[in-house]
């Protein structure tokens, strides 16, 4: 792949090869800025009878070509590059999660230290972490060996020990992996890639352990050279390289696809993480992104330039919906539904959804129930994310005498909803909700943002494409992300604290494109219409003990933007508490839904 001058790139073709659908988008340079102009999709063709991923790619690209009036595929079935006025593209890029994506096993000495860092590196690279082996994971060595043998990962990442630290324990971990001889998913002649990113003094010993057939040992810099610092970059890069060289090369048609692309193919979640990091860095904001699928829910966060990704493997809206109901419990799901529902009927609905994942709600009640499940799935996934996205453990603390009564341990979550600037949603239940108001309400109820937060959704799940684009043309990626990828729902202003019902929670005053002032009471929600291009300055005066971002009871002034929903003022307090009594809960939730006009009467649920 030759290096392309970003200034010469005017037409960009991008595809995302998912497990079931291959999605293609066309980005063109129009009137001095990059815009996404067309999209097309076709079934993915990794499985038989085609057994060649490029067939699906060409089908989706052809659809775009027809829509755009631009010839993108030549008669030989190749993507035309470079672009002319009427045909071809300057660069073709792609992501892939076909065939289950990238599946990894990671290992480290201590589960909360080097093993956690290894997991972060693997997740950040876009993989699914099948298991974490550690010296203190509570399993006996023979159980660990059996587990490694049972798994069939695409690659294994081994870490452990600081540079100059323990050697014995790292070698012990390696000696669990080597005799287990884990078999890769693809290809019988394929050597299991082992990435070693641990104590540099143990490299020789590790090399001698894996000095046998069946392993392809790759050594990179220690991902935890000292306990005070993580160095995940080299391990992530190596994961990407191996993903391309080994995993993708084994998948049908990917070798040809790699020849077409102008940038390395990335795992889809890794690309989503990259675009969120790019946007957070360029705009200087903190971002949380969520992608809720049928089987899993991915949560991405960038707080103070620290990126984290988690995959909640059992939280999803179709294959995993039963697990969501079991984990959240039915009363917790039903608290979001403002009317009585027959629990037996609901259970049937849940099981139906699980065995027929493509079914969509046919009635308003079914839609409300499904969105109630989505709230709980998102809430649980975000909770798991908060537990994972933490400061480093095992780090020395600096104290003063003033800390006598306020000592905190390491490993505190870095996810702070008050510092969150942008919350991005994607995934069927969020992206294809009949009304944008429902998406906004789902996000607010599940994530409980605090202070002033922008809400947006990924219009056509374009983030993976832009993630790869960010690696070759960050400016184009940011422009398309801002203008075409995100559909801004609006801004929410949420009070943190415990406002008293009937008493004033905060006062607001808007000036700019929208002029209004008023008060929000405790437990109250209010929607102010603000168009997509509207901007306003909001002055907020919270009641005593209520925090809107400047501290409890302190006045705040912020710029807010409108969106398809508008400006949402939330005086319900944080953490969000719903009444225990079922009747009172229904009444409260109905009041909230009415405030935001979430399920407008004239808008019947439509197919998603």
């Amino acid at each position: 792949m030759s290096q392309i001058d970003p200034e010469q790139i005017k037409v960009i073709l991008a595809t995302d090869c998912g497990s079931t659908t291959t999605k293609a988008i066309l980005i063109e340079y129009i009137d001095g800025e990059y815009r996404q102009t067309q999209r097309g999709e076709a079934p993915t063709t990794v499985e038989k009878p085609f057994a060649n991923v490029t067939a699906g790619v060409l089908n989706s690209v052809s659809e775009i070509g027809e829509l755009a009036g631009r010839r993108l595929v030549d008669d030989d079935g190749h993507i035309i590059s470079p672009a002319t006025d009427s045909e071809g593209c300057d660069i073709y890029i792609s992501t892939s999660s076909a065939g289950g994506g990238l599946q990894m096993m990671v290992a480290g000495v201590i589960a909360e230290m080097t093993a956690a860092s290894a997991k972060r590196a693997a997740l950040g690279a876009g993989s699914i972490v099948m298991d974490v082996i550690a010296a203190n994971d509570g399993r006996r060595p023979h159980d660990q060996i059996q587990r490694i043998r049972d798994l069939r990962p695409d690659m294994i990442l081994i870490s452990g020990g600081t540079d100059g630290g323990t050697t014995d324990k790292v070698v012990q971990i390696a000696e669990l992996v080597a005799p287990a001889k884990p078999q890769p998913r693809f290809g019988s002649s394929y050597e299991m890639p082992i990435i070693y990113a641990g104590n540099k003094e143990a490299r020789d010993a590790i090399s001698s352990v894996f000095n046998e057939e069946g392993f392809d040992l790759q050594i990179v810099d220690n991902l935890r050279p000292v306990l005070e610092r993580e160095n995940l970059g080299p391990a992530r890069d190596k994961i990407h390289d191996i993903f391309l060289e080994h995993v993708m090369a084994q998948a049908p048609g990917y070798e040809q696809l790699m020849d077409w692309t102008g940038a390395p193919i990335m795992p889809t979640p890794g690309a989503v993480g990259d675009i969120l990091q790019t946007v957070a860095r360029l705009q200087g904001i903190n971002v949380v992104g969520v992608d809720i699928g049928g089987a899993t829910t991915d949560v991405f966060s960038v707080f103070d330039e620290t990126f984290n990704r988690t995959v909640s493997a059992n939280l999803g809206m179709s294959y995993s919906i039963s697990n969501v109901c079991a984990e959240a419990t039915m009363p917790n799901v039903l608290r979001w539904v403002p009317f009585d529902m027959d629990e037996r009927e609901l259970r049937n609905h849940v099981k139906n959804k699980m065995i027929r994942p493509t079914t969509i709600p046919q009635t308003r009640e079914a839609l409300m129930f499904e969105q109630a499940v989505a709230r709980e799935a998102l809430r649980l996934a975000y909770k798991q994310h908060k537990e994972f996205a933490t400061t480093l453990k095992g780090v020395q603390q600096q104290r003063t005498v003033g800390d006598t009564f306020s000592q905190q341990t390491g490993g505190m979550t870095i996810v702070d909803n008050m510092k969150l600037n942008l919350l991005v949603a994607s995934g069927g239940v969020l992206s294809h909700a009949p009304r944008m108001h429902q998406t906004a309400m789902l996000l607010i109820d599940a994530f409980e943002p605090e202070g002033v937060t922008m809400l947006a959704k990924d219009s056509i799940f374009m983030m993976p494409h832009l993630g790869v684009l960010a690696s070759v043309h960050p400016k184009a990626a940011e422009q398309v992300f801002e203008r075409d990828c995100l559909v801004y729902l609006g801004t929410c202003v949420c009070a943190k604290g415990t406002p008293k019902p009937g008493k004033i929670c905060f006062k607001y005053e808007l000036s700019g494109d929208c002029t209004e002032s008023g008060e929000i009471g405790g437990g109250e929600l209010k929607l102010i219409e603000m168009g997509m291009d509207d901007r306003a300055t909001i002055t907020l005066t919270p009641a005593r003990g209520i925090d809107l971002g400047a501290g409890p009871g302190k006045k705040l002034e912020r710029e807010v933007r409108g969106g398809t929903v508008g400006l949402i003022l939330d005086g319900r307090g944080r953490p969000l508490v719903l009444p225990e009594d079922r009747a009172a809960c229904q009444k409260t939730v109905q009041g909230w839904l009415d405030s935001l006009d979430v399920y407008a009467e004239e808008k019947e649920p439509v197919a998603v």
Partner: protein, 465 residues
């Protein structure tokens, strides 16, 4: 001079001294005796106290010139009847009624059991035996060991032992309340009730510190203080050691415990061995890692410092009683980059540990460690019950201080003054449940006088205008 002459001279001197002493006791008695001597058994005691009261001598009362002839009072006692039967030091012991002080009482022959200075009219004899009857007499004393005639109490009084100290009734109420709360919480915890104990950072950090040592391939150092095993802080430290040893066994980290007392070493060895056994790692236990250094405070400190500098442990725990060595140890470990967790109940050392260590268990947290780590319902319930007791005590303290302040500020507020009296004398003192009526009357009289004086003052009328 021969020996006979010497003996004669000594005998002569002694004879002169005896004659002089007798003369002084038999000096002219010019002082008026005290009157109305009464004796009563001190209530609510174990029978070891008697209260003797009298009315002051006329010489004390009549003195107006400032040249006081009376210096104080001497109290004399004779045993009238023991618990076993009649016994007397009186001359006539034919029957109990005849027991008493002899008419020609020689002050020089019997030492008084106590004396008080003038102005005081009562004396508590704290050296009596329960069940024994005593007869008391009081004499006024003047300069040059002169005495007034004896004023003898009207009757002998027997010292009584009470099984219940009614004066401490409030103590009983408070004790029963706190005990009930503790029992209640223990019962609640045993039945599966959830007892929430706030996270203690220092104990939560044990796994983090041991994990750090494991990752860095360095040992964990545990210092159990410098006092012996009979000190409660050392015992609490050993409890934490069990948890550290358990974590070290799980992580396969090397644990070193230098001790300053041989008994602590033995206890620590048994504790660590049990922890390794519990984790199924008896092979990893090495008793040589738990060793005795010296009893000497700074010898021990120097020894531990040497271990730190030579072996560079990645995690150091200080759990027990510490004195001046606290900062020396903590600073040394800080300089080698170790995570440090300290726990002590020595208030003077806590600031040093807080400033120099990563985590510090302060006082109560240290003692709560056992319940926190074991999650045992009995210990958790007890811990919670004690917390409630402390809350009650703190509440009473606040209420008492408020009332006492108001009572002093508003001295005509009867309720406040009586409440203050009640807290001081009944709840905190020995008056029992019922307030002392005499003192209440004094307060009433005081308030009446205060109000009277206020009513006699001219009204301000808001100024000249």
């Amino acid at each position: 001079m021969g020996m006979t002459g010497m003996k004669y001279a000594v005998g002569l001197v002694l004879a002169v001294m005896v004659a002089w002493t007798t003369q002084s006791f038999a000096a002219d008695i010019t002082l008026a005796p005290p009157t109305d001597v009464t004796v009563e058994d001190v209530p609510n005691d174990v029978g070891t106290q008697m209260l003797v009261k009298w009315k002051a001598s006329l010489d004390e009362l009549n003195d107006a010139s400032g040249a006081r002839a009376l210096e104080g009072y001497a109290i004399f006692r004779i045993v009238a009847q023991t618990g076993d039967g009649l016994e007397s030091i009186g001359e006539q012991a034919a029957n109990a009624s005849e027991i008493g002080f002899p008419a020609n009482f020689e002050f020089g022959n019997i030492q008084p059991i106590g004396s008080v200075s003038y102005g005081r009219t009562e004396f508590v004899d704290e050296n009596v035996e329960a069940g024994t009857s005593y007869l008391y007499a009081v004499a006024a004393t003047g300069p040059g060991d002169t005495f007034s005639p004896l004023a003898v109490a009207g009757m002998a009084v027997t010292a009584q032992m009470e099984y219940f100290n009614e004066g401490k009734f409030w103590f009983l109420i408070i004790m029963l309340t706190i005990s009930s709360v503790i029992i209640g919480f223990v019962w609640y915890a045993k039945r599966g009730g959830e007892i929430k104990v706030r996270p203690i950072a220092g104990l939560e950090a044990v796994s983090e510190a041991v994990g750090r040592a494991t990752e860095m391939g360095k040992p964990v150092l545990f210092v159990p203080g410098i006092l012996d095993i009979n000190d409660i802080q050392t015992v609490a430290g050993i409890t934490v050691l069990a948890n550290v040893a358990k974590t070290a066994a799980q992580y396969d980290a090397q644990l070193k415990v230098p001790t300053a007392r041989s008994l602590v070493m033995t206890t620590a060895r048994e504790t660590v061995e049990a922890a390794y056994l519990g984790e199924g790692r008896p092979d990893a236990y090495n008793e040589d890692n738990i060793y005795y250094l010296t009893d000497e405070q700074f010898g021990y400190t120097a020894g531990v410092q040497g271990v730190m500098v030579r072996e560079q442990p990645a995690a150091c725990f200080y759990m027990g009683a510490f004195y001046a060595e606290s900062l020396i140890l903590a600073e040394t470990a800080n300089s080698i980059g170790a995570i440090q967790v300290a726990g002590t109940a020595m208030p003077s050392q806590l600031p040093f540990f807080v400033a120099a260590c990563d985590y510090t268990l302060i006082g109560e947290e240290f003692f709560a460690a056992s319940a926190y780590l074991s999650n045992d319902p009995e210990q958790l319930g007890s811990l919670k019950g004690q917390d409630i007791g402390k809350i009650i005590a703190a509440g009473l303290l606040v209420v008492g201080c408020t009332l006492a302040t108001l009572a002093v500020t508003i001295d005509t507020w009867r309720g406040g003054r009586i409440a203050k009296l009640y807290i001081e004398d009944n709840i905190l003192g020995d008056e029992g449940l019922v307030p002392n009526e005499d003192k209440v009357r004094v307060i009433d009289a005081d308030i009446a006088a205060e109000l009277e004086s206020l009513s006699q003052q001219p009204h301000g009328g808001g100024g000249d205008s």
